[in-house]
């Protein structure tokens, strides 16, 4: 029988499994060791030629495939590994029979250049979309359809893990991973499901993806040395570094988890989200949407700013984001902000884009469990305009019971999660 309820009378949402893969390695242990040692996973890209590009570095995950692969294939592989770790830790269900729904943040997909070239190779005469269509009509390339439909990755994950119902593939740009978690929380609170597998994954660093961000002047061009390029909150920050990875969380009705004797790793206590109609890539100058998203998340959790011990920053290392995030945090936390630790995992793993909210939620729970805050590395040139305790360069021991994890994205997407330690033994 369900007996535990939050302050609003809803089921508590427990976390019983966590999994992560980033450029730092596969699994929680490898990542935690590197993150708390202040190591960077950013390196020179050798997946594709970078000649002529302003940015030639990234946090690519290069240890999973021997041959060539597409973004959806890598995204699926990353998600599979993270989910295997999370579901394994949780001990929920049976192999291939996850007793709950699937919420997945996946990068938008489209047909990639090598596949288009493969079609083009078969064409005599000029290449245009009509001739590509004629090549497709031979139905010799049928597998490409399943590879490049938007619902493909989540469908394969649903098959592999045996999740129930209609899997959700979602995007809220760079806050997608947090939205996947939020949707799992909401489904459990509604009583639609007692467990949810929430995943954010992104393995989409290829030439065109990098060039698109580059053309928006969003990426750091300080390629040398690669590991120093991501420098959130520093005065000389000049853009984000693309990263790849996946984070997976098993969410569960707290009472459901208790009944089966699962170890409770933490609670997703609150979620806040706000839209921003100011501009496609820039946030409202007053920071109101980000401020309200944090305040909503705290209110949803029944907590106040004073309850927060640590902020897991969005902290992209772009001039705009870090300034706006610092301003918004100052508005929410007031004078406390001078002493409230805030650090950016992206200083080490880059911006894992669609996956970031989930990857960073996993790291936030590890921060709570281990009473150790991963640093913001490359903080050698502080930006005096944004005075923050960024946990510079070295991990710090601290008792952390409540974390707010921020995710902000293009298109006015602002999503904040309040993540807490498990309740004291009841």
């Amino acid at each position: 029988m369900s007996t535990h309820r939050d302050a609003k009378g809803r089921p508590l949402v427990a976390v019983t499994g966590l999994g992560v893969v980033t450029s730092l390695g596969q699994g929680k242990d490898a990542n935690w060791q590197a993150l708390t040692a202040g190591q960077s996973g950013i390196h020179r890209i050798d997946r594709f030629p970078t000649e002529g590009l302003k940015t030639s570095i990234g946090g690519t995950v290069d240890f999973l495939f021997d041959g060539p692969f597409t973004a959806p294939q890598l995204s699926e592989k990353l998600a599979t590994l993270a989910a295997e770790e999370a579901v394994g830790q949780s001990g929920i269900g049976a192999a291939g029979d996850f007793p709950g729904e699937l919420f997945m943040a996946v990068p938008p997909v489209e047909m990639e250049w090598p596949q288009k070239q493969e079609l083009a190779q078969s064409i005599d005469g000029d290449v245009d979309y009509d001739s590509l269509l004629r090549a497709a009509a031979t139905h010799k390339y049928k597998a490409m359809h399943e590879l490049f439909v938007f619902g493909g990755v989540a469908d394969h994950i649903a098959d592999r893990f045996g999740t129930k119902g209609s899997p959700i593939s979602l995007s809220t740009a760079c806050s997608s991973g947090a939205t996947a978690i939020q949707m799992g929380v909401e489904a459990i609170r509604r009583g639609d499901t007692q467990a949810a597998l929430c995943i954010g994954t992104d393995g989409s660093i290829h030439a065109e993806a990098l060039i698109r961000f580059s053309l928006l002047s969003a990426l750091s061009t300080q390629n040398d040395p690669p590991e120093a390029a991501a420098k959130p909150f520093s005065k000389n920050r000049d853009g984000f570094v693309m990263g790849e990875g996946a984070g997976a969380l098993v969410l569960e009705d707290y009472d459901h988890a208790l009944v089966r004797g699962a170890t409770i790793l933490g609670i997703v206590a609150g979620c806040g989200e706000r839209g921003d109609g100011f501009h496609r890539t820039r946030s409202s100058p007053d920071g109101k949407p980000a401020i309200l998203a944090m305040q909503d998340a705290l209110a949803d959790a029944g907590l106040t700013p004073d309850d927060v011990d640590y902020i897991n920053a969005h902290g992209t290392s772009t001039p705009e984001n870090d300034k706006m995030e610092a301003m918004s945090c100052a508005a929410v936390f007031g004078e406390r902000m001078a002493n409230l630790p805030i650090s950016s995992n992206k200083s080490m793993i880059g911006h894992t884009l669609t996956a970031a909210g989930a990857v960073e939620a996993v790291i936030s729970f590890m921060t709570i469990t281990n009473s150790l805050i991963p640093p913001t590395i490359n903080y050698v040139n502080p930006d005096p305009a944004i005075a923050l305790d960024v946990v510079p360069n070295t991990a710090r021991e601290a008792k952390v019971r409540t974390v707010i994890s921020n995710s902000f994205g293009f298109g006015g997407q602002n999503t904040c999660l309040v993540l807490t330690a498990p309740p004291e033994a009841a």
């Binding site: 047909m111 083009a120 269509l133 359809h145 209609s166 899997p167 995007s171 698109r212 109609g277 496609r280």
Partner: protein
């Protein structure tokens, strides 16, 4: 948990038939004929969008330029929905209005792609060549016009909807899950007001290419959805639909007109084998309880082999006396928008008194099954 009634208080729709509730009510009553273009994308027929006067919903040319056709269509129909719900000028409501969009992705620049592919065939250093051409030929803002979640982003910018948005992807099922989730949020009390829908631009060869790779396209002349056994496949259509869903209490309190009550929406994912679409839809429709004799069945069926007949059988079993209308026969198949358009058509029919009750079904061309149940408000 107490389930609250959910009503549809706003409908925005545009397609090859034109825009708005009246144009589509007339087509539902008359049953056709559809508007089909068999020449422009030969051998693939499709239903082209009847041109919109964009300025009416997207006043700034600068905003229009920042979007691609699928985004403009979505922003336009979202605006129609807000107008019809009487919310366009209600800043307070719009600041709390939550949005779920079912979206695909942006259109490729077909000319650039073709030129690059041509050049790659003879390039000594294909990687460097590709980099050089993409750096010089891609429009910087094209990326934003392509990003899936930027339809929602543009709804926020153009219409001042500053509530949070979520974008679902995954072809037809994105549209089903968008409406299912919006309905569940209101029914459970997590939200009072939602804007939900999708838009699809069929007039692009890159999407035809994706479907043709899998062998999912119908060729040559138009044939009705349920009569394509000899040449099964999709005939896509440009279409967009957005709905304002509202708790019945909120709608009553502000005196809003309800087009219909959305009683249920549910979704499934069968591992496609012969018969699985039938049984998935049987289960979904069975969960809605008995369907009355004066019902309407709107089907978002694709026309694809096997699954279309299975959908027809499920409809016949659940609502044997219902009048069946295929959305595809009116406006073509709108992929992510197919289910939202179909629910909009059902609500329009109920509101026009063409039926007292409606079921909506849809099996995605590759994955996903969905169904909804509406009654007169």
């Amino acid at each position: 948990m107490n389930r609250r009634d959910v009503v549809i208080t706003g409908i925005g729709i545009a397609s090859s038939l034109g825009e708005g509730v009246e144009a589509h009510a007339a087509a539902l009553g008359a049953g056709g004929p559809p508007v089909v273009d068999t020449e422009s994308f030969k051998p693939y027929p499709l239903h082209p969008l009847k041109p919109l006067e964009l300025d009416r919903q997207i006043p700034k040319k600068s905003d229009q330029r920042q979007m691609e056709p699928w985004q403009r269509l979505g922003v336009y129909t979202a605006g129609l929905a807000l107008d019809s719900a009487g919310l366009k000028d209600d800043a307070e409501a719009k600041s709390a209005l939550q949005v779920i969009v079912a979206a695909g992705g942006g259109e490729r620049d077909h000319t650039v792609d073709a030129a690059i592919l041509e050049g790659l065939r003879g390039a000594n250093e294909p990687g460097a060549f590709l980099n050089e051409r993409l750096m010089s030929d891609l429009r910087p803002t094209l990326f934003l016009a392509q990003l899936s979640n930027l339809l929602a982003g543009n709804i926020a910018i153009v219409h001042g909807v500053t509530g949070p948005s979520r974008t679902f992807m995954g072809e037809e099922q994105a549209g089903v899950d968008a409406i299912r989730t919006a309905h569940a949020r209101i029914a459970s009390g997590q939200s009072d007001l939602m804007l939900v829908g999708g838009a699809y631009n069929a007039e692009r060869r890159d999407m035809l290419l994706l479907f043709e790779l899998g062998g999912y396209l119908h060729r040559d002349d138009f044939q009705p959805v349920f009569e394509r056994e000899n040449a099964p496949g999709l005939i896509t259509g440009s279409a967009g639909a957005f709905l304002v869903l509202e708790s019945a209490e909120r709608a009553a309190a502000r005196g809003a007109k309800a087009y219909a009550t959305l009683k249920h929406t549910d979704a499934a994912r069968s591992r496609r084998e012969p018969g699985t679409v039938r049984s998935a839809l049987d289960n979904l429709l069975g969960g809605f309880g008995p369907v009355g004799s004066e019902a309407l069945a709107i089907s978002a069926a694709t026309g694809c082999a096997g699954i279309t007949a299975e959908e027809a059988a499920a409809i016949a079993a659940a609502a044997p006396s219902a009048k069946r209308i295929a959305t595809g026969d009116l406006v073509g198949h709108g992929v992510e928008a197919a289910f939202p358009v179909s629910v909009a058509l059902a609500a329009i029919a109920l509101s026009a008194g063409q039926a007292r009750e409606a079921i909506v079904t849809g099996a995605g061309h590759w994955r996903g099954e969905g169904a909804a149940h509406l009654v007169q408000a």
